[in-house]
């Protein structure tokens, strides 16, 4: 990643960019609401949503069936996709900044694999995957994601000689490989649950409901605020630990805070939606290519455009083979893998 340079990369978020990204997000949300296996008048659908705003009473004229489809199925799903996308993209951006590595994302660091292992253990132990606040699955995902991130951090912090940000990433890769192997072993040993776990691993927003939205909303709010407020610190960290320290940034504490927030966001996203890859890479890099390399730009725009990206990917996932669904992880990987190659080819000049 290049050092932020005031001459060619603006460090301040321009309102026009914010407005444009916001418009893209709203456009995708509207599209997601308008399209589905059952054709429902889009204008009336929007009125139906308005009707649910407190103190607003308007009549959409939709049949109760269609009104329920909009309010109980489509809208929570579109909103959940946007929240999950925002959390994965912003945690990807944060990991990339903290570890000064353009390929860092929740997956490479083992956090997602940790969450995956947690949920697999829950399923193998005979519990269904449910999204209630203190149900076993989300709790296990949190424990797994945080545990994996802390483990990766601990391994790199205690590794002797060469301690660079790359060390953390490498220990993350080791943690991820190990946790994924354990998960696959558990899954193969227990033939009955293979299908449940497999469906979940590929990512699922199929059964999205308001309770899932409620589950992730507080985490989205807290981690979003923490990451946005630390975006200047991310800029300073990208110059180098010693330089940052000389500028008065408490490097260790800031790094830990950012990693904790990003891992929390990952865990919440994984708990409700399974493993959805590549969002944490595609979105921050697109923002970087389009708007500049300052984290004061990347973090907020990744939140907004991450939401838009995943809501759009989910739209493809549920309409391409309708009424069957493509796992959303397949859609994001199909777009993400080629994109990953492009990033690799164009990031030759970056320092690791």
């Amino acid at each position: 990643m290049r050092e932020p340079d005031a001459a060619d990369t603006p460090t301040h978020l321009r309102w026009t960019w914010l407005a444009a990204s916001g418009a893209v997000l709203l456009g995708v949300l509207a599209l997601g609401l308008a399209v589905g296996p059952v054709s429902i008048n889009p204008a009336r659908s929007f009125v139906e949503i308005l009707d649910h705003v407190p103190f607003v009473h308007v009549h959409s004229g939709l049949s109760s069936r269609d009104a329920n489809i909009i309010w109980e199925l489509r809208f929570p799903r579109v909103v959940l996709a946007a929240l999950v996308g925002a959390m994965l993209a912003s945690s990807g951006a944060a990991y990339q900044g903290v570890f000064r590595n353009p390929l860092a994302d929740p997956y490479l660091l083992g956090a997602a694999a940790g969450a995956g292992l947690g949920v697999t253990i829950v399923v193998v132990a005979g519990h269904p995957i449910t999204g209630g606040f203190l149900d076993p699955a989300p709790v296990a995902a949190f424990v797994g994601a945080l545990g994996a991130a802390v483990l990766a951090y601990a391994i790199s912090a205690t590794s002797g000689r060469i301690r660079t940000p790359a060390t953390l990433l490498l220990s993350g890769v080791a943690v991820m490989s190990f946790l994924t192997a354990v998960q696959t072993y558990l899954q193969q040993r227990d033939a009955d649950t293979v299908r449940t776990v497999y469906d979940w691993i590929l990512g699922r927003l199929t059964s999205a409901s308001w309770s899932d939205v409620v589950l992730v909303l507080p985490y989205f709010a807290v981690t979003g605020v923490v990451l946005v407020f630390h975006s200047r610190a991310l800029d300073v960290l990208s110059v180098g630990d010693e330089e940052a320290a000389s500028l008065g940034v408490p490097v260790k504490r800031v790094r830990l805070t950012i990693v904790a927030a990003a891992s929390l966001a990952t865990a919440a996203a994984v708990a409700v939606s399974g493993l959805i890859g590549f969002v944490g890479i595609i979105v921050p890099h697109t923002v970087r290519l389009l708007f500049g390399t300052s984290y004061r730009v990347i973090v907020p725009l990744s939140i907004i455009l991450g939401g838009a990206f995943l809501a759009f990917a989910d739209l493809l996932a549920r309409t391409t083979l309708s009424p069957a669904e493509i796992p959303i992880g397949v859609v994001t990987a199909m777009i993400g893998a080629p994109f990953f190659v492009v990033v690799l080819r164009t990031s030759k000049a970056t320092t690791g």
């Binding site: 033939a191 807290v222 605020v225 669904e325």
Partner: protein
Amino acid sequence: MRKSLLVVALSGALVAGSVAVSTAISAAPAIARGAPAPKRIVSLSPTATEMLYAIGAGKLVVAVDDQSNYPAKAPRTKLTGLQPNVEAIAGYSPDLVVASAATAQPQLKKLGIATLVQPAAKTLDDTYREIKQLGGATGRTKQAAAVVAEMKAKIAALTKSVPKNAKTLSYFHELDNTLYTATSKTFIGSLYSLAKLRNIGDAADTTDTAGYPQLSAEYVIKQNPELVFLADTKCCQQSAAAVAARPGWDSLRAVQAKHVVALDDDVASRWGPRVVDLLRSIVHAANDARKA
């Protein structure tokens, strides 16, 4: 320091806001529903589809899943029972959905659509109970009782046709051409037991395989079953000739005596009224093998 305080305060405010929104959302009124007899049924289970038509509730069925191929007149759609798309189901405006798993139940409930979950039967009694349950749910209690009575009578007659002192023969039930099998503990295995047949897969079963172990070709050849039943004629194009052509299988007693029986995959994997047909194939094959 001031900044971190600001962060904490803002996070707090946002959490409070989220909780307020959450409460508003969960306070949304649930849909009230009565329980009159359903008029529009969607079946996501091929077995339930067969049962519904057998008890004369076929005209209430507005859509069935992509696997429900019997009876042929059932309104087959692209709906899938494995990962049901709730919105697509709701598009048929059903007032009752019958499925073999509860996957879609929570979301259907939010739309005010009742779901009847009828999991795979483990015994014939489960089958009878599910048929009667569908009869009760569709206002066809009498028809359902008649279907069950007829099934019981036919099964009793078939069981009776197996001689009391009949010799127990060994058999292999093939689920697919990678040699997955069903043991005597399974639903289909219980039908073979009625015909006094001994399952060669039982010894290979563990708690993890739960009645459906995968056997090796070597194991099957060593066990040398006297009968082989193929429940993979449609999925995997298996036949008596294909089995005989497998390396080493030509020496099997079942192959030598031409007691390799082709079953209909669908009938052999469902637990509806057609289990009578399945039992008939099994009993006839077993009796023929004993005469030989």
